[in-house]
């Protein structure tokens, strides 16, 4: 053993006996971490003449970047679209609990709500780093209210709005503030959507198309104005038609501006989308697939009745419906089950399945230099998984924040 002195005060940790996901492949390499970032061991060796202070044997685990969930409406009894008094502790609870699902960063999502809800809730959401307290918050995802009546899904009709009158100003007035907003889902066929999309994109907010009856050219125009995401592909949009593919056609459209990629969310819980449809989308555009849970308050709880914003939802097993109807509304899926289901249904490689939940959402949000990979100098948010892709431990900034109970299931 070389001398265990490191060349900086910050301890250097070397994770050994593991396979890490790097450059789209599982490689038998050690993972080096210092001060919450992934460290380049070659540079450390030659330039600083440093070595590891601590070596951890990972017992042949897979090490993957932490999962990023860009669409999650709540869980464990907490509903992000309800302006309760203890909203802050609610979001803290969810962020802490999803660590066990492998999620290290997320976008709390608000479904269509009255304007008052946005004004009360949004100031209570702040972008913050993750840690032992819970997964990091990247910013809010506002799904609605500027969506189509015909494709409202589980969203309450009386809260739907348009921005015909004042375009972006209407939107800003509805939400109150866009300070901590990361994604906005809207229906591009609505009048003046192009202006709104351009304005949102200018502010660095990701625009997503969803809950819409747009045809392909309307969708393509939206992309040209800056839209980059599709909210839960197939759900709440016109079905694929061979003479007008609708929003689904964006996956293979040739009118996407050069250098841009359209990403699309998929809820791969086996319910929202038939596995065959999941496979079609994946094969058509594998690099754009982003796994999302779209989980709602009932996730993590026993079957029964829960709320989703202004609606009451009934959970029966893995199915979640608006109470008394057949309308799907959110899910109770967890991110790690989505990853496993995606891998099984498509037969894709482990690397592809893991990247759909880490690299792709990071690329969507333009943060792939810090999150979503195990590249040198990026944030040390990572997971240890076994070969069946069950999360054994979760790390944020190089610190262990959750570990599977050895005695547990």
């Amino acid at each position: 053993m070389p001398s265990n002195k490191s060349v900086s005060d910050a301890p250097i940790v070397q994770f050994t006996n593991c396979r890490i996901l790097r450059d789209h492949q599982l490689q038998r390499e050690d993972l080096w971490v210092r001060e919450g970032k992934i460290l380049n061991p070659e540079k450390l060796f030659f330039e600083e003449k440093g070595s590891a202070d601590v070596q951890l044997d990972c017992k042949d685990s897979i090490i993957a970047p932490g999962f990023i969930d860009v669409q999650i409406n709540g869980g464990f009894g907490v509903d992000f679209s309800l302006a309760t008094d203890d909203f802050k502790s609610g979001i803290d609870l969810v962020s802490q609990k999803i660590l066990s699902h492998g999620v290290t960063s997320f976008c709390p999502t608000l479904v269509t709500s009255p304007s008052s809800v946005y004004h009360q809730v949004l100031p209570q959401i702040s972008v913050r780093n993750g840690g032992a307290h819970g997964a990091g918050i990247l910013g809010a995802h506002l799904e609605g209210p500027f969506i189509s009546k015909e494709k409202k899904g589980a969203h309450p009709e009386h809260c739907l709005r348009t921005f015909e009158a004042g375009a972006f100003q209407d939107l800003l007035a509805t939400y109150g503030s866009l300070d901590c907003v990361q994604i906005v889902t809207l229906a591009p066929e609505m009048r003046r959507s192009s202006e709104v999309i351009r304005e949102l994109t200018k502010r660095g907010i990701c625009v997503s198309l969803g809950h819409s009856v747009a045809n392909l050219s309307q969708a393509e125009e939206a992309v040209q104005h800056g839209a980059t995401f599709i909210t839960h592909l197939f759900n709440a949009m016109l079905p694929f038609h061979h003479r007008d593919p609708g929003i689904v056609g964006l996956l293979t459209s040739d009118r996407i501006p050069a250098g841009r990629r359209v990403f699309y969310g998929m809820i791969s819980d086996g319910i929202h989308t038939n596995p065959a449809a999941l496979r079609i989308a994946h094969r058509a555009h594998p690099k754009g697939l982003v796994l999302v849970t779209d989980a709602m308050a009932g996730m993590g709880l026993a079957p029964g009745r829960h709320t989703l914003g202004q609606q009451v939802v009934e959970i029966d097993g893995l199915n979640t419906y608006i109470a008394g109807t057949n309308t799907l509304s959110g899910s109770v899926a967890t991110m790690d089950t989505c990853v496993r289901h995606f891998q099984e249904a498509t037969g894709c490689s482990v690397e592809t399945a893991l990247e759909a939940a880490s690299l792709h959402p990071a690329q969507l949000l333009g943060i792939e230099h810090e999150k979503g990979t195990l590249n040198y100098d990026s944030d040390a948010d990572f997971l240890m998984l076994n070969d069946s892709l069950y999360v054994q431990a979760t790390y944020i900034a190089g610190e262990e924040v959750w570990r599977q109970d050895v005695s547990g299931m």
Partner: protein, 254 residues
Amino acid sequence: MKLIILENYSQASEWAAKYIRNRIVQFGPGPGRFFTLGLPTGLPRDHPESYHSFMWNNFFKHIDISPENVHILDGNAPDLQAECDAFEEKIKAAGGIELFVGGIGPDGHIAFNEPGSSLVSRTRVKTLAMDTILANARFFDGDLSKVPTMALTVGVGTVMDAREVMILITGAHKAFALYKAIEDGVNHMWTVSAFQQHPNTVFVCDEDATLELKVKTVKYFKGLMLVHNKLVEPLYSMKEMGAEKSQSKKPYSD
């Protein structure tokens, strides 16, 4: 010299590795008697084809060597000749090289001592021959303009000062160089031939590399393999050997 002929690349590598292992154990490394490496280099340190990257990926990251004990010539030093001179000093300070391990080029060069290099040369900057540049083009996407044209290298004289020299030669494309190295005269056009005048040299090669040698030579050395293989048998552990010193008795003379 000892000429060790193995069947193929992997066997040659394994024999060489075991030999080096045994020599390390006999050397008895410890505090103050550390294991030092030196190499020629000429590329930016973090270039994927630099010797730093090569050595890191293929050697250092798999072992527990202390970074202070690694000495690689720095091709980016501001004063290259001073860097070379300092390297020679470091070797002297470490007590000289115990075992030098190297390969040869198709033009018979040892390290980057290209044809025409002085057989008593020391560590210095060398311009590379076209043969060498061509051979290395594959690491630079086949683009000749990207291949460095100069390198820092230990000299032939520097290597001759080592107490033991091991040269690894595999592949048919090295066969002619091996012939020139051991069956022809000492000649600065085939610098590796200088080791004919070294008291303690081991050439490890595979069948393909012997293609240009006389059948007589090959048969002679193959006949000695029984004896030579004793050199790679596992030694007792250092603990068990107790105070035994480094020199083990050789069962025969060169």
